[in-house]
Amino acid sequence: MSRISIEQVKHVADLARLAITDEEAEMFTKQLDAIITFAEQLNELDTENVPPTSHVLDMRNVMREDVPEPGLPREEVLKNAPDQQDGQFRVPAILE
């Protein structure tokens, strides 16, 4: 049985802000299904009382002195912008 449907794949693509064609949706459905089926072998393991590891080193919050430091200059930050205006990043209309 398929673990993931083509509708789910299209929904995930939308969440990930990817435009995919119907052809790609079909391909991803097959490939993600294979990978997820493979990943389900993890269910063989009882992890009821196992804590999750998000980070391998035993570190907690790392703080620095609360002293203001200069940020990057505005011209530098805008240097790679695909579009800009009046010292700001310019984007297409948000509302149609």
């Binding site: 995930v12 990817l18 995919i20 991803f28 990978i35 393991l45 790679n80 695909p82 149609e96």
Partner: protein, 485 residues
């Protein structure tokens, strides 16, 4: 003898004695690039003009006789996911085809302080996602030992450039094997340091809990010199460890008497090609003659590492790659009418197939209703895998096995099936999940293709890893073999 057949310390001596100049070294790098790059195609961007100018400047400093850093004046290649101020950095992705970084990664600042000269930026799998460098958005890099084969990946350009003699050494990055696997395939030395040993500031993030920058070199000693220059805590990376950096070169004593080696049965069993297995057992014989002992052990959760890795790395990637949206830098589509369309089309046109696949997998694993079943489950299994290593390291000094199940495969051989490609990393991935350091050193040839020996150490014990790798290297001559190009 070609200049780059010399070790780092030999080159340093030649410079100090004025037998060669820094400009000679930079000339040699570009001469060799001119000679072989058409075949190997390791570089995405060359930095010729600036490198030559820098060489002149450093030659003047050298003449004053004050520069003693062992790396001073040496040319280096940098993987293209490490940001270099004023030098195009693409991650081998069309989405960053024109990206001109406005600051240097911390490792670059440290290399500049040591006096290295950046020759160019090296090809890779797009955003470091891949095991063959075939996922580059720009070009195919070829294995210098056999141009029909892949150099490995994702740091394929970094390993191929060193193997081809284009640079004496390079930097790569390793999330699931991306330094060690190409080092093995190209017959060079590659180290993934302990997670937190080297600052990740300025390394374009793939999977932040796994990524580490590390050196690719021709000898173990060279590797130790390069790690020395880049290791240490960095206020710009809160995951860099505030633990003193030892003198790695001093650790290369050649003495491994009484060393206790663990050989996981899972690393030499099914799926590992016979020639590779033989090379590893011959290497263990060499180490035994040097006074070490080895025993078979078990890392029982090894078989779950691959699934764990793909869920975690893809989840982290899906979050990290959200920043590529066409707003602040890189590619932007011309075809969008509104903001959401602009995001979607920019990303769809800018990312390659493997990157999209992993973003999709990661987004799915993190999405509502699936988070506990996939992402959190994988985090728990990661704990079990980490404990496997802790248990073995209670009784042994290092863990040894092959770096890869097979030598370099042919271009195009595994591109159709993502899972088959992923299987290639089965022996390197557990190391990233546990966060421990590991090196790949040349340990033989199968049908003319290099084989890598993987030596895994305890957290922050790169010194022991280097000591063992160096003792093995000095007792063998695999590292002296060069591909004919």
């Amino acid at each position: 003898m070609p200049l780059f057949d010399h070790t780092v310390s030999e080159l340093h001596t030649l410079l100090q004695k004025k037998e060669v100049s820094i400009s000679d070294l930079v000339d040699e790098s570009f001469r060799r690039i001119g000679e072989v790059e058409e075949k190997v195609q390791a570089f995405l961007t060359l930095n010729e003009e600036q490198a030559r100018a820098k060489a002149k400047e450093l030659d003047d400093q050298l003449a004053k006789g004050e520069e003693t850093n062992p790396l001073f004046g040496l040319p280096i290649g940098i993987k293209d996911n490490i940001v270099t101020k004023g030098l195009r950095t693409t991650c081998a992705s069309k989405i960053l085809y024109n990206f001109d970084p406005i600051y240097d990664a911390t490792v670059m600042e440290r290399l500049h302080a040591a006096g290295t000269i950046t020759v160019g930026k090296l090809n890779m799998d797009e955003f470091a996602m891949g095991s063959s460098t075939e996922n580059s958005g720009f070009q195919l890099t070829r294995n210098p030992w056999d141009l029909e084969r892949v150099p490995g990946g994702s740091s394929g350009g970094s390993a191929a450039a060193v193997a081809a003699g284009e640079v004496p050494f390079s930097l790569g990055s390793d999330t699931g094997g991306s330094i060690r696997q190409p080092a093995a395939f190209c017959g060079v030395v590659g180290l993934k340091p302990t997670y937190g040993r080297v600052s990740r500031f300025g390394l374009v993030a793939f999977a932040s809990s796994l990524d580490q920058i590390g050196p690719i070199t021709r000898t173990v000693e060279d590797n130790a010199y390069l790690l020395q220059a880049i290791a240490g805590v960095d206020p710009m990376d809160s995951t860099s460890a505030n633990i003193p950096v030892p003198n790695y070169v001093e650790a290369l004593t050649g003495d491994i008497k009484g060393l206790k080696i663990a050989v996981p049965k899972e690393y030499v069993g099914e799926g590992v090609e016979e020639g590779v297995r033989q090379s590893v057992f011959e290497a263990l014989n060499v180490l035994e003659k040097l006074g070490a002992t080895w025993e078979e052990v078990s890392l029982p959760h090894s078989k779950y590492a691959l699934a764990t890795y793909y869920l975690l790395a893809s989840s982290e990637a899906s979050a990290n790659l959200a920043r590529f949206d066409g707003v602040r830098y890189g590619y932007r589509t011309d075809n969008a009418k509104n903001l959401i369309d602009m995001y979607k089309l920019t990303r769809s046109e800018g990312f390659g197939a493997e990157v999209k696949r992993r973003i999709m997998l990661g987004t799915f694993a993190l999405s509502s209703g699936y988070y506990d079943a996939y992402y959190k489950k994988a985090q728990k299994v990661r704990t079990l895998i980490k404990r496997d290593f802790e248990n073995v390291f209670e009784q042994y000094d290092v863990i040894i096995g092959p770096t890869t199940p097979t030598p370099a495969f042919k271009i195009g051989e595994k591109t159709n099936d993502p899972l088959t490609m992923y299987m290639n990393d089965i022996l390197t991935i557990p190391v990233n999940l546990a966060g421990v350091p590991a090196i790949s050193v040349p340990c033989g040839f199968v049908d003319g293709l290099p084989v890598g020996l993987q030596i895994i150490g305890k957290h922050f014990d790169e010194s022991t890893v280097y000591r063992v790798a160096h003792a093995f290297e000095q007792a063998t001559d695999y590292h002296k073999q060069k591909p004919v190009l």
